[in-house]
Symmetry: C2
Subunit: 254 residues, 2 copies
DNA sequence: GAGTGGTCTAGACCACGTC
DNA sequence: ACGTGGTCTAGACCACTCA
């Protein structure tokens, strides 16, 4: 793996990667300082930093100003995307499906909600079957687990469908937006999830308190009523603390 | 966005990010060279490189040795994960479901297959219900679209189930491994997909020809027969050219 | 050959955290 | 106060691409 022709900083990264894997530096422990590694590998500080950056972008370590480089702890929660829209389950619980998912894993969820009316971006407009610039109602959630930022979830509705309804209020809706909209005649019968990953932009990195170099898993869910798309929800989850799960099979539900 | 206190390289990244968004530098076009940007921003080369690296890790641009920094083209294919194990569809087509998915998008798929017998990693062992170190048969595929590396797909089977069968041959199985195993009594009735994203390690970056900084979408699918798990498939897809799609709802199939 | 990015050195000063 | 990472400079030489 550490071939002779690899640049020095890659050799350094490979050596440290191996030692982390072998437990020489376990989860939560501290790596030698940059200046120590300069001596150990006979490299300049910039070269050492290149090598460390490699491991940062792989999500293995993160720098902590004034403390050193720390090895990432693995602390991943599962978000079960295939059952999170199950009406019966949600109605019986009376709480947000995500809240329930997290509670079942023994953690304490919380969230903030902000509502605004915006012009649809081209991407959202296409998914909702609107013209670019048509108004959409946006519910932006910032979600926390045990007080730590965990994920963002932004839902977009055609403004013409939901204005002057409870959906436009910046508060949780006890029975859920989906059930509420169903009572208004927009029963969602089908969902399409598109999953990808991006590197966070500065705002996202700040909101979610992600270390530089940790990718965000992005799930865009479009909900369809019989009449067409009625909702797009974009969820962004740092991959160092989230796994998206889909259960598929004969006993499948939506 | 570009606050006064931002470091110089962030200001530089923000300025270029905006210009790329505004179309000053469109998809496929070339950014000014590092040395030109040194003059334009009055910064040293290392600082310019820090700013450019920021945009590289966001997936906006990529460096091309000897040519300059190029703005990424968007050229994304959809991989429909919720229908890819549909027996009927596959059997009727007589080809790999992925092959069909890509062909439907007007592209030319191809793949290489290598088969080996290995000791199960702890992760795979847990998912297959084996002990760590038990033997697993591994089918590693490297998939191409229009001749370009596109994704890797590694399938793991308990060796005790598949040894001395066609699954252990390094060739495509016309009716598909799933149908073949069903004929051997292991009908897969349920799947669990875990989706996350990672930054590529050196080997993955090489296999998939990904630019540094582009995350990989990783889908781990565990297939269950009535008797328990019989297969784990790990698919790694560079996010600059793939979207994973799940269709959920009343007409759901496995 | 000229221009590009890739790697690397050897410094400097600042900002943050802990003791 | 001290050690840590964060930012930045001003050079150098190598490797690749294209005309």
């Amino acid at each position: 793996m550490t071939t002779r022709s690899d640049p020095l900083y890659e050799q350094m990264a490979a050596a440290l990667r191996e030692q982390i894997g072998a437990g020489v530096y376990g989860p939560g422990s501290k790596l030698p300082s940059e200046r120590t590694l300069m001596e150990r590998f006979g490299a300049s500080r910039n070269t050492v930093r290149l090598g460390l950056k490699r491991l940062v972008t792989e999500g293995l370590i993160f720098p902590s100003h004034g403390q050193g480089y720390l090895v990432h702890r693995q602390d991943v929660l599962v978000y079960n995307a295939s059952r999170s829209e199950n009406h019966d389950r949600r109605v019986s619980a009376g709480v947000d499906a995500w809240v329930q998912d997290i509670q079942e894993q023994g953690r304490t969820p919380s969230q903030t909600i902000a509502v605004s009316i915006e012009k649809a971006s081209p991407d959202i407009a296409v998914k909702l079957g609107l013209e670019a610039g048509d108004l959409v109602l946006v519910r932006r959630r910032l979600r926390f687990v045990d007080g730590q930022p965990w994920s963002t979830e932004d839902s977009y509705y055609p403004n013409s469908l939901v204005k002057n309804t409870l959906v436009a209020e910046p508060a949780d809706i006890p029975e859920g937006v989906i059930a509420y909209m169903a009572s208004m005649g927009y029963t969602q019968v089908r969902y399409v999830d598109d999953v990808t990953a991006v590197m966070p932009n500065p705002k996202q990195a700040d909101d979610l308190a992600v270390e530089p170099g940790v990718p965000l898993l992005v799930r865009s869910r479009t909900g369809y009523a019989e009449s067409g798309p009625v909702r797009v929800t974009v969820t962004a989850m740092p991959t160092d603390r989230n796994v998206l799960r889909y259960e598929l099979g004969t006993r499948q539900n939506g």
